[in-house]
C-alpha cells in the first residue's frame, strides 16, 4: 500500500513536471502590451510622479483583464535614479509583506477587479509611482513596468514589459518644473 502511494505520488509529480515543461515549452505568448506614460515629464521634489499605464489586448479574442483595486499588486516597476535602482517605500514593502515591523503581520486584504478586454481594447491604470518608490531626491529617473499575464501561475504566465520613460525630479523651486 505504501509503495502504491509512493508510486502514485511519483507519477503525480512526474505529470506536474511534464506539464510544467510543456507549459514552458509552449512558450505562452503575451495577450496584451503594456505602455506607460508620465503625466508630467518633470516635477519638483515633493511633487507626485504619476504614471498612466495602458494595457491593450493584442489577440483576436476577448481576454480576462482581472486585477485588483491596487495596481501595485499586479504591476512591478523598475525605478532607478541616475542608473541606480531606488528603494521601495515602506508602504510598498508592507503591502507585499516585506519589512514588517515586530508585531506586524502579513495579511491578505484586497479587492478583485473583474474586467475583460475585447480585441484591440485597452484598459488603464493611474499609478502614483512616487508613493511606492523613493523619488524624493532630484535627478533623472528611468521607469518601466512589468506585468504577469497570469499572476501566481508561473507556468502559464508571461512577463510583459513596458517601454521605459524618463522623468526629471528638479530641486524645489525650480521654475522649469511648472513649464512642463
Amino acid at each position: 500500500m505504501r509503495n502504491l502511494i509512493r508510486r502514485s505520488m511519483f507519477s503525480y509529480l512526474f505529470l506536474i513536471s511534464v506539464a510544467s515543461v510543456l507549459g514552458k515549452g509552449q512558450n505562452p505568448s503575451p495577450e496584451f502590451t503594456l505602455a506607460i506614460q508620465a503625466e508630467r515629464q518633470s516635477v519638483e521634489v515633493g511633487q507626485t510622479v504619476v504614471i498612466n499605464v495602458t494595457r491593450q489586448n493584442i489577440t483576436d479574442q476577448t481576454i480576462d483583464d482581472n486585477r485588483t483595486t491596487n495596481p501595485m499588486e499586479y504591476l512591478t516597476f523598475r525605478v532607478s535614479r541616475d542608473g541606480v535602482p531606488v528603494a521601495e517605500t515602506a508602504e510598498l514593502q508592507k503591502m507585499h509583506g516585506r519589512g514588517l515591523a515586530p508585531g506586524e503581520v502579513q495579511t491578505i486584504v484586497t479587492s478583485p477587479y473583474f474586467a475583460k478586454l475585447k480585441p484591440g481594447e485597452s484598459s488603464h491604470d493611474t499609478v502614483e509611482v512616487s508613493h511606492y518608490y523613493d523619488m524624493s531626491k532630484p535627478g533623472t529617473y528611468s521607469i518601466s513596468a512589468l506585468q504577469e499575464t497570469r499572476p501566481g501561475l508561473p507556468e502559464k504566465s508571461v512577463s510583459v514589459k513596458s517601454n521605459t520613460i524618463t522623468i526629471t525630479v528638479l530641486p524645489a523651486g525650480d521654475p522649469s518644473a511648472a513649464q512642463q
Partner: protein
C-alpha cells in the same frame, strides 16, 4: 476715482472773488483749471467764496485710466495755498514769481496794466498747482485659450456673459495693475468694506482640488488679490449667470483709505448632473448569498494559501488575479443640458475597515484603515463603471473564523476636458457590509456566516457644498491593500 464726483476746497489767502475783480481793474479773479494726460476730468461749480476759500466739483470720466490729474490755481499771487479734497491733494506748489507765467485770459490784459514799479502784472498767473491721482474703475479680463476677453465695460458694468463649465480653470486679471497704482503713490490694501475680499463671486468657487494618495483637500479661492484663479464647482441655473464683482482699495501717501468703483462680469456655468446606480440595487438587506469564501493562493513566492472571504462571488484564480463577479457595481449616469465634454472619475473613501480572525485560543484584531481606497482616482473603474469586492484571507488552521466590517462612500466625479480643469463631485453612495466565515479545524472546509449582510444607500446628488470640503471627497489617510495594523 473715475466716474465719481467729488467736491474740493481750496484754502489760502488773498483770493479774488469775481466781485472784487470787477471793482479793481488791477485785480483778476482767481480761477481753477484741471488737466489729465489722456483722459478728462470735468471741473464744475467753481466758486470763489471769499479771499480764503474756493470750492469746486471734479469728476474724472469713467474711462480715465490710472493717471495724475493736475489742479491749477490762476490769479494774483499773494501766498501759499492748500487744497483739501478726498484724493491725494497736498499743499500747492508755491511758484516763484519770476517763473510765473500768464494763464487763461492773461493775453487779454493790456500791458498798460503793468505796475509802475516794473513788478508783475495783475495776471492771471499760475498761483499754485497740485496733483491728484485718478483712481480708475477697474476692468476685469478673462484669459482663456491664450485670448484675453474683456469682461467689464469702462463704467464697470458687465459686458457679454461668457460661457464656461464646472471645474474649468477661470483665470481673471484686472487693471489697474498694482505697479501702476504704486507709481501713482497708492498702496493696495485690504478691502475692509468687504471682509477683506476684493472679489465677490456668485456660486461655489474654489481655488483648487489637491489630491494624491496621501491626501485630498480643497483649496479655498483667494479673493483678496488683484487676480483670481478659480473653478466653479456647481453650474449656474439656466438664464441666471453668476455675477463676479471686483473692487480694489488703496492707501494714499497720507494713509487715506479709499476704494475704487466696482467692475462686474457675468459667467454662465454649464455642467452635468450625475446619478449613481448600484447593482445590487439599493437594498438594506443584501443577504449572505452575496458573499463567498474560497481557498486561494496569493501571488507571493512561495504562495500563501488562505480562505478568502469576499463580498462578491469568487470562483477561482489567485487573490491578485481572481475570477468571478463583483460584490457591487456602480454605474455613473451623466446628463447635461448643454454641450459639455469631459470624463467620469471615481473616488472611494473608506470609513470603516475592521477585521477579526479567531481560533479557539487566539484572536487577531486588525484595523485596515480609513481614508482613500488604494488609489487616486479609484482604480477599479473604467469610464462610468466602477466595482468593489472587498475580501480578506483567513489563514486556515491558525484561525477557524473571520469577521469583517466595512463601510465606504463612493463618489462619482466629472472632469471637464478644458485645459487645466479639475474634477467636480456629482453624486455619492454610502454602502457597507459585515461578513464572516467559519472553517473546520483542518481548515479545509469553509462557509459564509448566515448573518453576513450588506447595505447600499440611496444615490445622493451633490449640488452644493460648504467649506472646507465644498462637497468634495477629502482625506488625510488612505487604505492600502494587504496593509492592516494589529490592534493590541
Amino acid at each position: 476715482m473715475a466716474g465719481q464726483t467729488y467736491p474740493i476746497t481750496v484754502l489760502g489767502s488773498d483770493f479774488v472773488t469775481p466781485a472784487m475783480a470787477a471793482a479793481d481793474p488791477n485785480c483778476v479773479a482767481s480761477q481753477l483749471t484741471v488737466s489729465v494726460p489722456t483722459g478728462s476730468v470735468i471741473l464744475t461749480d467753481v466758486n470763489v467764496i471769499d479771499s480764503t476759500k474756493i470750492t469746486a466739483t471734479v469728476q474724472p470720466m469713467d474711462t480715465d485710466p490710472a493717471e495724475i490729474a493736475t489742479l491749477t490755481l490762476w490769479g494774483a499771487y499773494f501766498g501759499p495755498m492748500v487744497v483739501k479734497a478726498p484724493t491725494r491733494l497736498g499743499a500747492m506748489t508755491k511758484p516763484d514769481v519770476a517763473q510765473a507765467h500768464p494763464g487763461p485770459g492773461a493775453l487779454a490784459k493790456p500791458a498798460a496794466a503793468l505796475p509802475a514799479d516794473g513788478g508783475a502784472p495783475p495776471g492771471p498767473y499760475l498761483v499754485g498747482q497740485t496733483t491728484a491721482a485718478v483712481l480708475p474703475i477697474p476692468v476685469i479680463t478673462w484669459t482663456y485659450n491664450n485670448q484675453e476677453i474683456r469682461m467689464s465695460a469702462a463704467d464697470g458694468s458687465p459686458l457679454s456673459t461668457q460661457n464656461a463649465v464646472v471645474g474649468q480653470q477661470i483665470v481673471l486679471t484686472t487693471t489697474p495693475k498694482e505697479e501702476d497704482l504704486r507709481g501713482l503713490g497708492f498702496q493696495l490694501t485690504t478691502n475692509v468694506l468687504n471682509e477683506g475680499d476684493s472679489w465677490t463671486v456668485d456660486g461655489t468657487i474654489i481655488g483648487g482640488y489637491n489630491h494624491s494618495i496621501g491626501s485630498g483637500s480643497v483649496k479655498t479661492a483667494d479673493l483678496t488679490q488683484t487676480g483670481l484663479t478659480s473653478y466653479w464647482v456647481y453650474p449656474s441655473a439656466q438664464g441666471n449667470p453668476f455675477n463676479v464683482r471686483y473692487q480694489y482699495c488703496v492707501l494714499d501717501l497720507n494713509a487715506h483709505f479709499q476704494c475704487s468703483a466696482t467692475a462686474n462680469a457675468k459667467f454662465s456655468i454649464a455642467g452635468p448632473t450625475g446619478k449613481i446606480s448600484t447593482d445590487p440595487k439599493a437594498n438594506p438587506n443584501i443577504s449572505s448569498s452575496s458573499f463567498s469564501v474560497l481557498l486561494m493562493q496569493n501571488c507571493d513566492t512561495p504562495p500563501l494559501t488562505v480562505a478568502y472571504l469576499s463580498f462578491g462571488q469568487i470562483q477561482s484564480g489567485t487573490t491578485c488575479h481572481p475570477i468571478g463577479t463583483a460584490g457591487i457595481y456602480f454605474t455613473g449616469n451623466i446628463t447635461s443640458k448643454g454641450s459639455v465634454h469631459g470624463n467620469v472619475k471615481w473616488e472611494q473613501i473608506v470609513s470603516e475597515g475592521m477585521i477579526a480572525k479567531s481560533s479557539p485560543s487566539n484572536t487577531l484584531n486588525l484595523n485596515c484603515g480609513t481614508g482613500l481606497d488604494n488609489g487616486d482616482p479609484y482604480p477599479a473603474a473604467s469610464g462610468n463603471l466602477a466595482q468593489d469586492s472587498p475580501g480578506f484571507g483567513i489563514e486556515p488552521v491558525t484561525y477557524t473564523s473571520g469577521l469583517r466590517k466595512f463601510s465606504a462612500v463612493m463618489y462619482l466625479m466629472w472632469q471637464s476636458s478644458t485645459p487645466d480643469s479639475i474634477m467636480v463631485p456629482l453624486a455619492s453612495v454610502q454602502w457597507g457590509f459585515h461578513d464572516g466565515a467559519t472553517g473546520n479545524a483542518l481548515g479545509t472546509r469553509w462557509s459564509v456566516d448566515k448573518d453576513s449582510k450588506a447595505s447600499v444607500g440611496q444615490n445622493q446628488a451633490i449640488t452644493s457644498g460648504e467649506p472646507p470640503a465644498f462637497g468634495y471627497p477629502t482625506w488625510t489617510t488612505h487604505v492600502t491593500n494587504n496593509s492592516c495594523a494589529v490592534i493590541e
